[in-house]
Amino acid sequence: MRGGSLWQLGQSITRRLAQSDKKPLSPRRYFASGADLKKTALYDFHVAHGGKMVPFAGWSMPIQYKDSIIDSTVNCRVNGSLFDVAHMCGLSLKGKDCVPFLETLVVADVAGLAPGTGSLTVFTNEKGGAIDDSVITKVTDEHIYLVVNAGCRDKDLAHIEEHMKAFKSKGGDVSWHIHDERSLLALQGPLAAPVLQHLTKEDLSKLYFGQFQILDINGSTCFLTRTGYTGEDGFEISVPSEHAVDLAKAILEKSEGKVRLTGLGARDSLRLEAGLCLYGNDMEQHITPVEAGLTWAIGKRRRAEGGFLGADVILKQLQDGPTIRRVGFFSSGPPARSHSEVHDESGNKIGEITSGGFSPNLKKNIAMGYVKSGQHKNGTKVKILVRGKPYEGNITKMPFVATKYYKPT
């Protein structure tokens, strides 16, 4: 096998999952060796459970445990999975003007969110491209809670801080707190709600997809959002770090082993099946939310008013249509991977794959990527080049696996 060293093969797995941001702004984040990797509160817990630890965005994270990535991915949709996502960055914006402040940086209609609800949004740059995607929640009119990607932490915080300084210098009332004292866990799958209900007195049947609550879970005050990155019903739980291991243990015990610790390998397969973007692959600085198929995330009022970075570019794309669009693919042969070229049936290049792999739940190859507008309709036959050879494929809508978000009927 190429590479001689199989360790390097293991590393290639992480390179495929790694975020695009490889230029840390803070010198402390530059890691010369594995010894400098940060550890979450669950590090020892992962190792004790057979976690295979790999470097990811400056952290030592479990890519999988004793079960295979395929089994883990299937188990999430049949039973459930518990993910350690404490490497992601949670922060709170507070103050009278935190809502108008955030609206200068994201495409969401933050003012229009009811308290206790949130949404996926995109932080944009002056060209309308994506700096990062994020789940934001309006806790109250003076408190917004948001989670950003681990690989974009330094970039995002520097961006927010720079704009916050300018906003405050004009008299705006906003401040922030970065929740490094908390750890984020994600509990996903059909058993997520029944299991979590054992650990809290609050009635979870009243907490719908996108909603947020601060409540006691397993004896500690947690931030709970009914959201996730798998397409399944589930939650992201921000727990004080000193209670993270106890909470993880409690969740696994209450599920009688059906909910399993699940690593980043399966997490990536799950989000791909759900048609969700991975920042750094499917969304980058030069891709706008319109091109990425996230027009729904741009608030209606924002489409009329703008007021966020790059609004002129985005509003024009909403009017004229974008030149490229994100689509899903099925293909035969080897799985299509990032940077594989997409050709039309005549062999003309029409796009590129940005993420792809074998779907454990569908047992076929799935991929997502960008093609020229006009060539993006479902059913369009394409050829995908893998290692120089063309393989048959077709464009399909996403999600590949139907989502099961808990919404009111």
């Binding site: 096998m1 190429r2 060293s5 390998g265 080897p334």
Partner: protein, 181 residues
């Protein structure tokens, strides 16, 4: 498969890398090594960090194995390799009657998350490929030395086999490679 996994975790727990103290395991395991295709009976010599390295085979430092019987050399990837790779979801093999060259790529193995080229340990003409791998690529994981064989080659230069590693050398090679990380 269950027997191998049990033996593997035992070896890991005991941190053993030679067969001496595990001779009680060999007879039971050896029985499972007999298979009906009439190929040679292979004896497991021991464990490379819990992975199986078989006697009677030659190994490349790119983790392919070769079984030379008369004018036919059967080629696949080692147990150590399949374990690092993870579940195989697709295998790309050469056409029959094509030629392969020592130390050159002859195909690819895809796992859930990564692709790896497979390098031919010898030169020669491909006389047969394992068509079962098209529908069951997982045979490479469950049976890397038997049902997961990849291709049979007529060696054009049998002397090339001399430069490959024997089982003990390969075991040591794996240990050194893993220890370096």
């Amino acid at each position: 498969m269950a027997l191998r996994m049990w033996a593997s975790s035992t070896a890991n727990a005991l941190k053993l890398s030679s067969s001496a103290s595990k001779s009680h395991l060999l007879p039971a395991f050896s029985i499972s090594r007999c298979f009906s295709s009439g190929l040679f009976y292979l004896k497991s010599i021991g464990w490379c960090f819990g992975f199986e390295v078989l006697e009677g085979l030659k190994y490349a430092n790119s983790h392919e194995w070769v079984k030379h019987e008369g004018s036919v050399a059967t080629i696949g990837i080692s147990d150590h390799a399949q374990d690092h790779l993870g579940e195989v979801v697709f295998v790309e093999l050469p056409e029959e009657k094509s030629s392969v060259t020592k130390e050159k790529n002859f195909g690819a193995v895809e796992s859930v998350k990564a692709t790896s080229e497979i390098i031919s340990p010898i030169s020669g003409e491909v006389i047969e490929v394992n068509t079962k791998l098209a529908d069951s690529p997982g045979l490479i994981n469950s049976s890397p030395y038997e049902d997961g064989w990849m291709m049979k080659v007529k060696p054009s230069n049998p002397a090339e086999l001399e430069s490959l590693m024997g089982p003990k050398e390969y075991t040591k090679f794996c240990e050194e490679e893993d220890a370096a990380h």
